[in-house]
Amino acid sequence: MAQEITTNQLRKWLLAYAARIIENEDHLTELDTAIGDADHGVNMRRGMGKLQERLRDEGHSEDVSAFLRSVAMTLISGVGGAAGPLYGTFFLRAATSPTNGSSIDLEQLTQMFRYGLDGLQQRGKAQADDKTMIDTIQPAVEAMEAALAAHQSAAVVLAAARQAAHLGMKHTIEIEARKGRASYLGPHSIGHQDPGATSAYFLFETAAEVFTITGAD
């Protein structure tokens, strides 16, 4: 990859993510009303509002790690529910992944997601097929790693991540919840898409849009 993803591009990505979540607040609420406590849309919208304020503030750091840490702290204090500590952990761990200071290359972007995923699994103790955000993020990270190993371009790597995340999100419709509030419903949770898997999908959807447009290739 010729160009690198700068902190400013990460900022644009997370602004796009925040906007996408806010557009989808009602959808997330509907999904969480079916199998949870109906708070995922409201919690995520509140957290994304805080994130927008934080990201629009010109005083943000150029350092990728410091930037990701600041995103994590905003989500920890702004989201609530189970999503607050989970997204907070995701970005806090992502902030410990290798960078080139004020930018990351495609391999480092993939590692960033991998670090976040590993943190999520430790925090939430969820595995694949538990019907959680892991079902979106794990296949997406694995798809990125595979595409990267095959020396694909950034556009291909990010498209692979989006596609795998989308399939993972849709797969949560077919499976029974084994973690979180939805697990109380047992087999009745089948047939409903997981709200956390849905909000996590937008991370990869917006990454594919923003990083491709801004020329990370």
Binding site: K50, I76, S77, G80, G81, G84, P85, G88, T89, L92
Partner: protein, 136 residues
């Protein structure tokens, strides 16, 4: 003497449990509270950075015992520990105790100068203490 931190989704619940526990401890034990989300006192939720501040407020080398209400309070408390420096993290303990009974028992035993593990053990024993006399 160990410190205690009360973690709840509700700022008012945390304050109420704090009130009960502080009365038990006769003002001798440092008890912190982290209830609700940071931005206001009204939004329900747990905030790891608030929990972190509460740990730091009551910090003591003897250790800090954290008592949580339920669900994601545990994840937020774990995340708060992750944000602590290693030497402090080693002296913090998440309790499996029920919040109200556990906080009261923990405050009493902490005020007697008992060590962290011992205080946690009696607090966790409150899980199996019957509430109704005829269940004894």
């Amino acid at each position: 003497m160990i410190g205690l931190v009360i973690v709840s989704h509700s700022a008012r619940l945390a304050a109420g449990v704090h009130e009960l526990a502080a009365q038990m401890a006769g003002g001798q034990v440092a008890i912190g509270q982290a209830g609700g989300l940071s931005d206001d006192g009204e939004t329900l939720g747990t905030d790891a950075s608030r929990i972190l501040s509460a740990i730091e407020e009551v910090w003591c080398e003897d250790g800090v015992l954290l008592l949580m209400d339920l669900g994601s309070a545990v994840m937020s408390a774990e995340l708060a520990l992750e944000m602590l420096p290693e030497h402090r993290r080693r002296n913090c303990l998440l309790s499996n105790a029920p919040l109200v009974e556990g906080a009261i028992v923990a405050a009493l035993h902490a005020s007697l100068g008992e060590p962290l593990q011992a205080v946690n053990a009696v607090a966790e024993a409150a899980l199996s203490a019957p509430k109704l006399a005829n269940n004894c």
